[in-house]
């Protein structure tokens, strides 16, 4: 049985797809057979971030409608043996998803994979609800600013009331907080909420803190999940995050302002 993890946030543009790509890739790096499912029907992005946009033939909606089987729609990653992507349909909208169809596809994926990462669309409408409904765990991606935190709070409410686990009275979805675009300098200046501030409001277990990093945009543009850029701070932070997700204890990094060395101070950096 696969573990189904939804990557969600409520708010758009906080890094859900970047996180889905990074965490899916990270789990595959650790040897787990992983599939990342793009639930953002009509606004397909995951394929770009994963660098497989030219190999999309069939998509999630085709599989739901029985126009293609899973084998035809799954795209195998070129870098990693045990990583697959199920792309969204670009020509349809969120109403193309329905619970029965999604459940059937997830059940089928469940037989073959260790992890199913559901990349949720923004919002709290049917698309986002479909993405979170069947989840066992949730990674709530939050930026350190008030509107993102409030939207995350809203999504946490949905997770605890609108999911299958909630409706069937099963143990609740395991919730993780992932803080992205974290900038310790701006936190120090009081321009950004700190980890403690966000923790105080959302009160769920912190899974990781991803620093704001140029590497993320570069990675997106080149279709390489940022976690593969092990030199970068964001890549390392995602590696730590995946380690925590699989039960390891890893200290948090990139929380404090880096002390600049003499050379850095002279030459900038």
């Amino acid at each position: 049985m696969a573990k189904i993890i939804v990557v969600t946030s409520g708010k758009g543009g906080v890094g859900k797809t970047t996180t889905s790509a990074a965490i899916g890739t990270g789990l595959a790096l650790k040897g787990h057979k992983t599939v990342i499912v793009d639930f953002d029907i009509g606004l397909r992005n995951l394929d770009l971030i994963m660098g497989c946009e030219r190999r999309v033939v069939y998509d999630f909606v085709n599989v739901i409608n029985g126009e293609a089987n899973l084998k035809q729609a799954l795209i195998k990653d070129k870098r990693l043996e045990n990583l697959f992507i199920l792309p969204a349909s670009q020509t349809r909208d969120k109403d193309a998803l329905h619970k029965e169809g999604v459940e059937r596809v997830l059940n089928e994926l469940s037989e073959e994979f260790d992890f199913i990462i559901c990349d949720s669309p923004a919002g709290i409408e049917s698309g986002a609800m479909m993405a979170l409904y069947f989840a066992d765990e949730a990674i709530v991606v939050t930026n350190p600013e008030v509107s993102s935190v409030r939207d995350s709070d809203r999504i946490l409410g949905m997770l605890s009331s609108k999911s299958r686990r909630a409706e069937q009275g099963l143990p609740g979805i395991k919730e993780h907080l992932l803080l992205t675009r974290y900038n310790p300098e701006r936190v120090q200046k009081g321009e950004m909420l700190s980890v403690d501030d966000v923790n105080d409001i959302l009160a769920i277990k912190l899974l990781g803190v991803i620093p704001e990093s140029q590497a993320v945009l570069n990675a997106s543009n080149s279709g390489q999940p940022v976690i593969l850029d092990a030199e970068s701070d964001a890549g390392q932070a995602y590696l730590d995050t995946v380690a925590r997700l699989t039960g390891e204890t890893v200290p948090f990094r990139f929380l404090n302002v880096e002390k600049k060395g003499l050379l850095k101070r002279i030459f900038g950096g």
Partner: protein, 237 residues
Amino acid sequence: MVAMSDPIIELKGSLFPLSVLYCQDFSVASLRQELSNKLAQAPGFFTQAPVVISVENCEQIPDFSAIKQLFTELQLVLVGVCGADATLKKAAHAAGLAALQPPKAGKAEPAKAAPVAAVTPAAPTVITTENKTLEQNIRSGQQIYVKGADLIIRGTVGAGAEVIADGNIHIYGALRGKAIAGAGGDASKKIYCYNMQPELISIAGNYWLSDNLQGDYWGKPVCIGLQDGQLMMAELF
């Protein structure tokens, strides 16, 4: 000194929920019939309940003494009349009844054309459910309502969440959303909260927005209640 200035008795204005009886026919026979039917539907529920009788659409002076007698027989306590004009007031006073202001307009009144007598219990007198205890955070967008009882939350009420109870509200965590106690109109209800940073608090319709609450008590454990129609706040510890 202290003892000398202490008054032996004190008169203080307070608000109480009272049931108001609206009826068309004020004859004792008709009232006996209709009230007995009503009481039979909920035996014991209205036992010794204080009742005010609305005489707004009363055309001739009813026999208040006989009505009072009837109420006593039916194990009800007739407190007074409301909506009385000068003549009716006089008659009520003569029967030892108080003349009260009619309840504020806009409240749910039964249709005046209703042919039968109807006792409308004021909402907060009824305790219909048990207290509700939640051991979880109340997230933005969630709404919790407890009818006729207290709400106890062991967790945080997030910004954009609403917790509402006809009774008291206890929050053993931060309150960042809205808390509405005494929602049924009971002014004696209170809000207790461990860390007060709300968007709004309200008791029996009297409310404060977060703008009015910035200051000494912000982020503190507090108790909020109504005193003489004014919201009052005090530190819990």
